[in-house]
């Protein structure tokens, strides 16, 4: 049986891993390649880099990081953040990324999904959806979760699948940073609406939260950042907790 994946996410700004409690005060945590390599050796099933660089230099640095990661990390890794054109997708895949994530640019032009998918295959195209709950359902948010597009998140997930996305990275804007658990209701709604793997993100504060989202939804993977970076919990502790709860995980 296929296992549930545990994925540490590294936010990278101008070449350094940062933890942003907000966009004003970003704390540097370390070197992206070293951190990715360390996680891959301690049980991470996959790594996701989110490039939050504001400058072109920062984006170029990300390509170098991808190249170096491909030479040093022996689990799959995804790169997202600032992917706007098929040239961006090409550059990151050529540098050695296994998958590329796209968010705002795909909302603005869904053909970016279909063109990328047709050229490189669905398996390497991840559509990231940031969703926030409103009275009439979940809306797709862009620009780091700040801008309401008014688009229904479930409909958008279906569109992304039809356009050729291989996977959905689903972040709940409501639970992100709260550390009170993944957004079960949203995750279930999206997972049940589509037939491609979904990665749940936003709100994880401890290993029980991973076990919970795997028990209550059919999500394929869970992502967390701060609980791993701040050494609150290791990937191994998360896996042990999941295993105790009967979740099928990869033992390393």
């Amino acid at each position: 049986m296929i296992v549930k994946r545990i994925i540490p996410c590294l936010d990278v700004k101008e070449g350094k891993v940062v933890k942003g409690t907000n966009f004003v005060s970003l704390r540097e945590l370390g070197e992206p390649v070293e951190m990715a390599s360390a996680y891959s050796k301690t049980g991470a099933d996959e790594i996701i880099f989110l490039d939050i660089s504001a400058t072109n230099e920062g984006r170029q640095t990300m390509v170098d990081i991808v190249r170096e990661t491909a030479e040093n990390v022996f689990v799959p890794f995804t790169v997202g953040g600032g992917v706007r054109t098929i040239d961006d997708v090409t550059r990151l895949l050529r540098a050695g990324a296994d998958k590329v994530g796209m968010n705002s640019a795909a909302v603005a032009d869904p053909e970016l999904i279909s063109e990328s998918s047709a050229r490189f295959g669905a398996q390497c195209i991840v559509v990231a959806i940031d969703a926030k709950k409103y009275e009439d359902g979940w809306h797709v948010m862009t620009h780091g979760g700040s801008k309401d597009t008014g688009i229904d998140a479930i409909e958008w997930a279906r569109t992304a699948e039809q356009k050729g996305a291989g996977e959905i990275l689903l972040t709940s804007v409501d639970t992100d940073g709260v550390k009170d658990g993944f957004d079960i209701e949203l995750t279930k709604a999206i997972v049940d609406a589509i037939r491609i793997p979904v990665i749940a993100s936003g709100g994880c504060g401890n290993p029980d939260h991973f076990a919970e989202v795997f028990e209550k939804t059919d999500v394929s993977a869970g992502l967390a950042a701060s609980i791993f970076h701040e050494d609150t919990y290791s990937v191994q502790e998360v896996k042990e907790r999941c295993k105790q709860q009967g979740v099928n995980i990869r033992e390393t």
């Binding site: 296929i2 296992v3 099933d45 491909a70 022996f74 669905a122 491609i196 394929s220």
Partner: protein, 199 residues
């Protein structure tokens, strides 16, 4: 020296890194003369079957690869594994290298596709060098699979149906998953191939 066939389908960097890490000299090439000098030939690949066949044919590599596969250890990885078979139906019907009898067809399962993620290996009887990998998890990313006679099956995985994971016909091996992305287990599997099953 190990030759990795570089024919424009997917990044070959991770595959070559994995072999270098095992201490082997690696060359990336689409030249017949260089392939002929190698001790082992690796055919990687990511993308669609038909596009890959076209790339191989445009480079005049089809017949050289078919011939060399009879002379030395030959390993296809992921799409490269699928190309070892007789015929593929992704992107239309096209002929493969025909080194292992069988076809490449969409996975028939009730589960979601692509089959993405870590799945456990079921090693078949009679393949001792691979027995150490029984129930070990390796990383898969694919929607198509080999339909192949059991006598060529070294390992499979379960995904609502039995999916071939490692296949073998004489000195031609195929690996459906990504050993270069499967952590230490993946590296050990490559080592097993390099050392030869007979030893």
């Amino acid at each position: 020296m190990i030759a990795i066939v570089d024919y424009g389908m997917g990044n070959v960097a991770s595959v070559s890194t994995a072999f270098r890490r095992l201490g082997y000299e690696v060359i990336l090439t689409d030249k017949e003369a260089e392939l002929a000098k190698a001790s082992h030939i690796i055919l990687p690949g990511v993308g669609s079957f038909q596009a890959a066949v076209q790339e191989i044919e445009e480079r005049g590599l089809k017949e050289p690869l078919q011939r060399l596969a009879k002379e030395k250890p030959f390993l296809g990885i992921c799409l490269g594994m699928q190309l070892l078979f007789s015929e593929g139906y992704e992107g239309g019907t096209s002929a493969g290298l025909n080194l292992i009898p069988g076809t490449i067809e969409k996975i028939e399962t009730d589960y979601i596709l692509p089959h993405i993620g870590w799945n456990a290996l079921d090693i078949k009887e009679g393949h001792e060098p691979f027995e150490a990998f029984q129930n070990k998890h390796v990383y898969f990313v694919h929607s198509f699979e080999a339909r192949v006679d059991r006598k060529y099956l070294v390992a499979s995985t379960e995904y609502g149906t039995e999916v071939p994971a490692i296949v073998k016909n004489e000195n031609v091996y195929g690996i459906q998953f990504h050993p270069e992305k499967s952590g230490e287990v993946g590296v050990e599997i490559l080592k097993t191939f390099l050392q030869g099953e007979a030893k």
